[in-house]
Symmetry: C3
Subunit: 335 residues, 3 copies
């Protein structure tokens, strides 16, 4: 088994299938704590520094809550304007100093590869919470964990699945990273539904094909959504020359109850990285799907906590002693 | 007794007198912990998400400290600019996600009724920390708790009191909510002192009258301040057509030692929601009152912690097991 | 021994040598906890309010981590825009309210003497984290602690040392406060290397001379750096009439490996208050020194945590019971 102790978590590319399996396995162990069946204080007294040099409420709160759920303290920094980085301090220096105040660090930063550069100066494990257009490995891991756990309900595993990725596949960081992880598994059918101008980068398509997967590239919904999982990403208007051009694609690549019932299977699970734009003109993932049991988007967000708990436990080497540090939950909970 | 477990706290209107009594009773139980006579860790391991989409240092820190005083962890978000809400995410979606990372949520938001909308998507109790011009129920509860506890010093209870509300009664959210709570009690004499243009809304006056209280409406201080409690709110200059017009009212509705000694009783207690504008031109609640034992404004602010502790304990169902989770305070304290 | 319980820490001038010795002694006791040899939960349940009305990531996180390392909770406020202070509330009122929510307060504020004014309204100890151009006592204490601990490696103590302060000595708050502390010790040789326009204020030079120290004032590096400790501060371009004028001094008062090897002793320890400007044009403290064992700048930053832990322990009166509240560290650590 791979030893995660003291490691940085910087990219999905650093893991082989065995490592991924271990992360997903430990994530599943975290469910009873997140669901408040019981609680765990294995990291009682430990300190996370949650450095969000680029703001992101959801990811920041998820990292912090994950650490609290294991009993640890969280120190937090939001925004680069408050930072020594703006006075010309190098990421190496910042890392040397802040890691001295931490047991582990989660970091988001707007610049590509900045988290890796930071990690080189850190004396404690660093977990990449997103470095610009480059990587957001915990999102990809929670997506994979979600696919695995949703498929379990139907007696299926990751191998042999039929998955649709739909929307802006050119710019979507999440679908790129997820595709890299899927490459580690066997005989997946992956249908890439997007406007021609927004197709998945060729390098990722090749990697999927070379891994023995069946890849279908299309710009049509009809006939292409009869899958196990459909992963929807937003059509980002700002990527187009004009709002009018963006509007050409709207509706063609959105999902609502009518489209779901017409083109998907009865058991097709819907995923989305969130936040979902719920304004009427967004036409992205309709709220009329909210009562659908197979809409997994909120379970997906909750899984983010499990995966982040797992990464803290693994990098800090406590993944095998969780059960020694359990306590009952003594307050009211509906979870 | 009303069961608060799992309930949202959205408005003072949701409570009857029995429920209010229980909240005030539990608030009083919290005093020894807040005063550091002993401490309580009944919420050890629980997570509050303190969502201040509209900044408010005092209220935010008070909620957070209240949760820490019961042993729980606090995650915090300040300002809407960092939030997924700005990307078109609905309050329902935000609530679904964040409540998954929480055991309880306190939320302030600039938009009326937004906290109620949010609560509909939340899987955990939500406490309204102020939703624009609408409600700020914990302020009203701490005001009521303060009146009750200050009156105890003089052997009086809420029933039969003689209370003056003074200042801008038209726009003051705090005096509206407090009036609604006072309606639940018996035979109160309420004197409403304000400029004619800033009188208490008719609906609230009617509710007080219909509840059997004696209501006096006046724009004169002389002869009207001989009461048990005077609750002062600020004359908000921005509500007037001009600074000159606002200045017409200044001094007539402010309080200082001279006015207090001339018009109030010896035992009249002074309250104010704070912050108090202490700039010389503000003419609001003079600092020459600071050495007056009956100036309750800072005790009032401290009571905010007790009431918020009580609401956390009640909604999380631990109000009856506080004493099982006590520990001594082992550090130096003057409190 | 001085009793620190309940005291404010506002200025280095409030301490005599006995008090300083006690602070340094307790700081040293904190090392095993900060280095994760073991942990200490003596302040379990206590609340620090970390009020950074002026942002400073490094100092803020250091105060917060120090409190967490002793087991306590941290509430935090960053920036004055979110504060009641902006609505005309006096520092006295703010202190009355916030101290009611706290066991101890750390505060940074852009206005000189504001922290002292605030402390007058506080019911709990207040530690000055920097009040504008006035004081930053924890920086001076960590600098002194660093000199002492670095010199121990060479069998030397603070008395009799040979120290160089170099850079902008006119405006550098840190070198002023450090000089005041050094005045308390015996027979130090202090060489002040700066541009003539940026010399150390006469009052501080006099205080050093009057304390019996040997003071050398020079604007030349050659022949003046053969010392035990060189404390480098930045040449702040904004203090000069023009960038060109600032550039006249660059290189003359910077430090790199070549200058170090030519002018310093083999054992000369390099200090700097950080952040260091690592942009190529900064010419301040070159990164080619990073592999030098005697570059103490990162150990210096770590020492900030020890000194802040010590001040929390002393003001809260727990400095003599640390060992009663020790626990093992159960997670992986490289420290």
């Amino acid at each position: 088994m791979m030893n995660f102790q003291g490691s940085h978590i910087l990219s999905v590319s650093q893991f082989d299938r065995t490592a991924i399996s271990r992360i997903l396995q430990v994530s599943a162990l975290m469910a009873p704590y997140a669901e408040r069946k019981k609680r765990c204080h294995v990291l009682d007294g430990a300190i996370l520094n949650n450095l969000f040099f680029e703001p992101s409420t959801r990811t920041r709160v998820s990292f912090g809550a994950a650490f609290n759920l294991l009993g640890g303290f969280v120190r937090e920094t939001v925004g680069v304007e408050n930072s020594s980085l703006s006075k010309g301090e190098s990421l190496f220096d910042t890392a040397q100093v802040i890691s001295g105040y931490s047991d582990v660090i989660a970091m988001r930063h707007p610049t590509m590869h900045s988290v890796t550069e930071f990690a080189q100066g850190s004396t404690v494990p660093v977990i990449n919470g997103g470095d610009g257009a480059n990587e957001h490995p915990t999102q990809a891991l929670l997506d994979l964990f979600t696919i695995e756990s949703e498929m379990k309900r139907f007696g299926k595993s990751l191998d042999g699945l039929n998955i649709v990725l739909m929307g802006d596949l050119k710019h979507g960081r999440t679908v790129h990273s997820l595709s890299k992880l899927l490459s580690l598994y066997n005989k997946i059918k992956i249908t890439l539904v997007s406007p021609i101008a927004l197709q998945m980068p060729e390098s990722i398509v090749s990697a999927l094909s070379n891994a023995g997967h069946q890849v279908i590239i299309t710009d049509k919904i009809a006939g292409n959504l009869a899958c196990d999982v459909i992963y929807q990403t937003r059509i980002q208007q700002e990527r187009f020359a004009s709002k009018d051009e963006a509007n050409l694609y709207r509706g063609h690549f959105s999902l609502n109850k009518r489209i779901y019932q017409e083109y998907c299977k009865e058991h097709t699970v819907i995923m989305h990285p969130l936040p979902r734009d719920s304004r009427p003109e967004a036409n992205e993932l309709d709220t009329d799907l909210n009562d659908l049991e197979n809409l997994a988007i909120f379970r997906q967000a909750q899984n983010g906590v499990l995966v982040r708990m797992a990464l803290f436990a693994l990098t800090l080497g406590v993944d095998e002693k969780l059960s020694q540090y359990e306590k009952p939950v003594t307050w009211f909970t509906k979870k």
